[in-house]
Amino acid sequence: MKKDKHISRRSFLKGTAAGAATLAIPVGNTDASVWEAFFQQHFQEMDADEKARVIERLEQEYKKRYNREFSIKTTDAMPGVLFGYGLDLSRCIGCRRCVYACVRENNQSRDPQIQWITVLRFEKGEKFVSNLEEADKYYYPEKVPEEEYFYMPVQCQQCENPPCVKVCPSRATWKEPDGIVVIDYNWCIGCRFCMAACPYGARHFNLKTPRIREEEINPETHYLGNRPRYQGVVEKCTFCVQRTRSNPGRYPACVEICPVGARKFGNLLDPDSEIRYCIENKRVFRLKEDLNTSPKFYYFFAT
């Protein structure tokens, strides 16, 4: 039989695919760290050695990018801790100090601008809990509070039943044992399903490489928290995991800055914590409770 000199369609495609794959793998002028980053494991699957190697590489990478020494923690959740947050709507004056304290602590991009906390303004008497879209987040009067308005800051509600985690196709986001919903920025593929799933608008996307002035960088970071992000990944509030996951651990930056003390934070499993006192003694509600997301963020009225 005459041997067919033509390449079959199948073998042609196979060959092209293999060739393209070889081209796509970075070789030549790239250094080893690109390879390492390319083959980096999912954070939850790394052992201690792997974590240490990844941290070292990231610290080098960030140093090159920001001319600063970085420290990246990988602290695990503490046993017997479930973080909860309280926000006193009768005290909040809408001054936005929390927004910018969060930006400062958590290395949010200044250009393009990303902010994890949004302060909403409602007219007194207006329907508000179910109708967040009609709220004004661009208010900017000379002084706050204003006579005829009240304010409600919204950030990640750290749901016990987080819809964002459910939809993630790459499992780049998950709920930690202490209740914080975190993201592995090296595993996120930027599909933004989680942003569509979140009923609170709490997740934000890096459309461009985030830019921060070198002198305003916070180099004290956590892998799952405030370490600098990349273009094309999603980010969100982590209850300042780099501060709070420690014994003793500091309050989140937004709690620390609030001039009226409207923000409360603590361990839901500790009956003596401030947050438990709020839940047991005040009129609390959770945002969009009917969606069964079961937030660990409690709004309350202390007066």
């Binding site: 809408g94 100090r97 927004v99 910018y100 930006v103 400062r104 900017y140 003793p248 609030c258 006192y277």
Partner: protein
């Protein structure tokens, strides 16, 4: 013999109880947990009051004061019902005086405020009213009532808000140098308050 032994045992148990209860009760006086507060925010040069008041005669009458003009001007704290000596102690001006006649220092002024604002005082002791910083599972820093509320005009004073977020249509495809990147407006604010201090 049995009774004797029992009484020794009871005494011993009682002693142990006393030893254990002693320090705990001291740390938790009047349900106020151990905490650290910054010193009271006096206006400059106003304390100790006895520097001026020691040699002055006490006049409890409501009248137009010649001193403390700013306080008189701002005084808005049930001012129809009250006057200076309802809180300030007439004989030793460096102390405050509770309704019971008990004298307290300015560092413990929360007892004075708590006389009327009982529910707030309760929330404050639990760490829910007012600002609390420090460690969520460790040492906490409280503030006195007077750190946020001027005792003579207690309503919280309005603040200038920080700027709103950028609208989506304001976002530009910019290529900024380090100096051109917008600074966090909080940095300027913190610097300003540092300089004041």
């Amino acid at each position: 013999m049995g009774v004797w032994r029992l009484s020794i045992l009871t005494t011993a148990l009682f002693m142990i109880f006393l030893l254990r209860a002693g320090p705990a009760a001291a740390a938790d006086k009047h349900g106020i947990p151990e905490f650290s507060v910054p010193p009271p925010p006096f206006s400059e040069g106003i304390f100790p009051c006895s520097d001026c008041h020691a040699d002055m005669e006490t006049n409890p009458e409501r009248r137009q004061l010649e001193e403390h003009i700013e306080i008189v001007k701002m005084f808005d704290h049930a001012s129809d019902q009250r006057w200076c000596l309802d809180c300030h102690n007439p004989n030793d001006r460096d102390k405050l005086r509770l309704a019971s006649g008990k004298l307290i220092t300015f560092e413990e002024s929360y007892y004075l405020c708590g006389q009327c604002h009982g529910t707030i005082f309760r929330d404050w002791k639990a760490g829910v009213h007012g600002k609390r910083t420090g460690e969520w599972n460790g040492k906490k820093i409280y503030r006195l009532c007077v750190h946020c509320h001027n005792p003579h005009s207690p309503r919280f004073k309005p603040l200038k808000p920080l700027p709103p977020p950028k609208r989506p249509e304001e976002i530009r495809n910019s290529h900024l140098t380090n100096e051109q990147i917008p600074s966090n407006p909080l940095e300027a604010l913190l610097k300003e308050s540092d300089e004041k201090r």
